[in-house]
């Protein structure tokens, strides 16, 4: 599209002086946005003495790993990483399965009253979690799942699948009829058609959902904070944030703790960059 526009406009496309000014402003803005990341990165590898003598802007005089190592061991970072990975991964898979079942009945089965069913699921996504917090806390205490990661898995399976149901129902609502008819001609039951035909065909959408559910669950804070009180059960964001302000954390160790919180999401961003931008704009592009 840009190419066409350029051809049509011909010579009008050379940058003018004001364009250069605007470009500089936008680049300065981007540097400001990236600046906190850079600060965290360079200061995580400094010793506190180095930080105090040369300030936050200088590069480390020598690479210092004690801060990172100290924090890594203090929170038992691999354990937290594993908690976050398996909780978010389980939620992502379960939530997609539930979304598929719901959307199959709503989008393809077109059950009576489906609009209300969709509204009920959407509600689950809009509600402030505070409005569910205490009753959930009480219920999970009663059944003995309080302070157990499965409580978080169950809650987020529901919240994420609520959104998945909303999205997938409209996707399945436009599923080509010919394919369903062909499957029925071959004598496939609903169940077989769902898993052998519909799920494989909608796999691109489902994989976007898996990635989003994973990252959203990873980023959740309030409910994991409330339900996972033992250090051994905590997720990465919770474990890092409960240690903030701790007297034993010197300035560069705190920086290292922030860095350890940033790194996993940066890795997801690099791996899933395309899927993410496709997903974010899925609602916006025709």
């Amino acid at each position: 599209m840009t190419a066409i526009a350029q051809r049509r406009r011909g010579g009008m496309n050379r940058p003018k002086f004001t364009d250069t000014l605007v470009l500089i402003a936008v680049i300065v803005g981007a540097i400001l946005i990236a600046f906190p990341f850079v600060l965290i990165l360079i200061n995580s590898f400094k010793s506190p003495a180095d930080y105090n003598s040369s300030g936050p802007l200088a590069l480390p005089t020598q690479l210092y790993f004690d801060g990172i190592v100290a924090f890594w061991e203090r929170v038992n970072f691999p354990e937290k990483l594993w908690n976050s990975i398996w909780i978010s991964g389980t939620v992502a898979i379960l939530a997609v399965v539930i979304s598929v079942l719901n959307a199959f009945a709503i989008g393809i089965g077109r059950v009576r009253g489906r609009t209300w069913v969709v509204v009920a699921f959407l509600l689950a996504n809009l509600l402030p979690q505070e409005a569910l917090l205490y009753p959930l806390y009480f219920m999970f205490k009663q059944v003995g799942l309080y302070n157990n990661p499965w409580s978080v898995v169950i809650i987020f399976t529901v919240i994420q699948s609520a959104f998945g149901t909303y999205l997938l129902s409209s996707v399945y609502g436009t599923f080509p009829k010919e394919i369903l008819e062909a499957a029925a001609l071959d004598g496939a039951s609903r169940w077989t058609t769902l898993w052998r035909v519909i799920v494989p065909i909608s796999r691109p959408t489902l994989s976007v959902l898996v990635i989003f559910f994973f990252i959203w669950t990873w980023n959740e804070f309030l409910i994991p904070l409330t339900f996972l009180v033992d250090n051994a059960n905590q997720t990465v964001p919770v474990a890092i944030s409960v240690l903030q302000g701790d007297r034993l954390m010197d300035v560069t160790t705190t920086s290292a703790s922030a860095l350890l919180g940033v790194i996993p999401t940066l890795i997801f961003f690099i791996i899933f960059q395309r899927t993410l931008t496709r997903g974010i704009t899925a609602g916006a592009v025709k």
């Binding site: 599209m1 936050p56 009945a105 077109r110 959930l136 300035v251 899925a282």
Partner: protein, 327 residues
């Protein structure tokens, strides 16, 4: 990531009803009601995790409950207390600042940035540079919002924090400040965190929206002598109005619910200067053990979010209707 619902989009207007409105599934005789079987797991989970707790929470708002002895029904007492509660109103006043930081500033700046990246940078300096800049602006959005708070909190540390050190380093040591610990700057510091986190979301959505605007519209306007800013106002904003609605709605709801940065950075303090409803409810639940009162705050917040969502959707429908009758 603060904004959770990036796909939300106004459903398309219903098409004229097809003749056969039954299931899209060709079947012989088997009853339509059996489709409900597929909804059983989803609806059961929804009932136990969302509906029962929600109703229970509303009930708790009419009780005195300290978490140990069973809740005692006290009618509207909590609600009456809420109306006279200065802290509650302070938390809502702060919510207005959260809306400025998470909705108004990011949406307006984001609109301008998206238009510049799309119109000027991509067309005159190349699409690669534009997408690189877009990714940079989006970067804070992927962070867990609590971690984003920690990153900025580290920079704003009162003793030997990066910002204060930099200020001292360039001879502006007098400006060094306990940014998060003083009532006059705590709220503003939180707002900076939120703008930083939130800005990338409108930029990405609006740039995608701009891609579907017909470039001929701009050319026609340009030939008619419209300035860049006139084109921006008349065409850009008009064409991407649906996305502006979606972004405003999802960000407003996120702003009403904001919790993570407050918890990590200030815990509502100093005093009530950064208190927000969700943190207030949380502290009533688990610190003051005033469960009934916490439930009242949470219910009030839920009602507010419901009203905001309905008003937005109404406004959006009205503007769509106006547009259709206008064209």
């Amino acid at each position: 990531m603060a904004t959770q619902v990036p796909f939300v989009r106004q459903p398309k207007k219903p098409k004229p009803k097809p003749v056969q409105e039954l299931s899209g599934f060709p079947e012989s005789g088997s009853s339509r009601a059996t489709w409900w079987l597929y909804l059983i797991p989803g609806l059961l989970l929804l009932t136990f995790v969302i509906i029962i707790p929600l109703v229970w929470n509303i009930y708790l708002s009419f009780t005195e409950y300290r978490g140990i002895r069973p809740p005692e029904f006290i009618g509207l007492d909590n609600w009456i207390e809420l109306i006279g509660d200065e802290d509650f109103w302070a938390s809502f006043r702060n919510t207005i600042f959260m809306i400025i930081a998470m909705v108004i500033l990011p949406t307006t700046i984001g609109l301008l940035l998206a238009a510049i990246l799309f119109d000027v940078v991509a067309k005159k300096y190349g699409g690669k540079l534009a997408s690189f800049l877009r990714a940079t602006y989006y970067l804070p959005q992927i962070l867990p919002v609590a971690i984003a708070g920690i990153v900025i909190g580290w920079i704003l540390r009162p003793k030997n924090g990066a910002l204060n050190e930099i200020l001292t380093g360039i001879g502006l040591g007098d400006l060094a400040h306990n940014w998060l610990g003083s009532p006059d700057t705590a709220l503003a510091s939180i707002m900076v965190v939120l703008v930083w986190v939130q800005l990338g979301y409108p930029v990405v959505i609006f740039m995608a929206a701009l891609a579907r605007v017909d470039p001929e519209l701009y050319e026609a306007a340009e030939l008619d002598g419209a300035s860049w800013f006139q084109r921006f106002r008349a065409i850009t904003i008009g064409m991407i109005r649906p996305e502006i609605f979606v972004v405003t709605l999802t960000c407003t709801i996120a702003a009403l619910k904001v919790f993570g940065p407050i918890f990590v950075l200030t815990r509502g303090g100093p005093g009530t200067s950064t208190l927000v409803p969700s943190y207030y409810a949380y502290s009533e639940f688990f610190q003051s053990q005033q469960v009934g009162y916490g439930a009242t705050i949470a219910t009030a917040l839920t009602i507010l979010i419901g009203i905001v969502a309905v008003l937005f959707i109404k406004a959006q429908n009205a503007s769509e209707r106006a547009e259709r009758s206008g064209s």
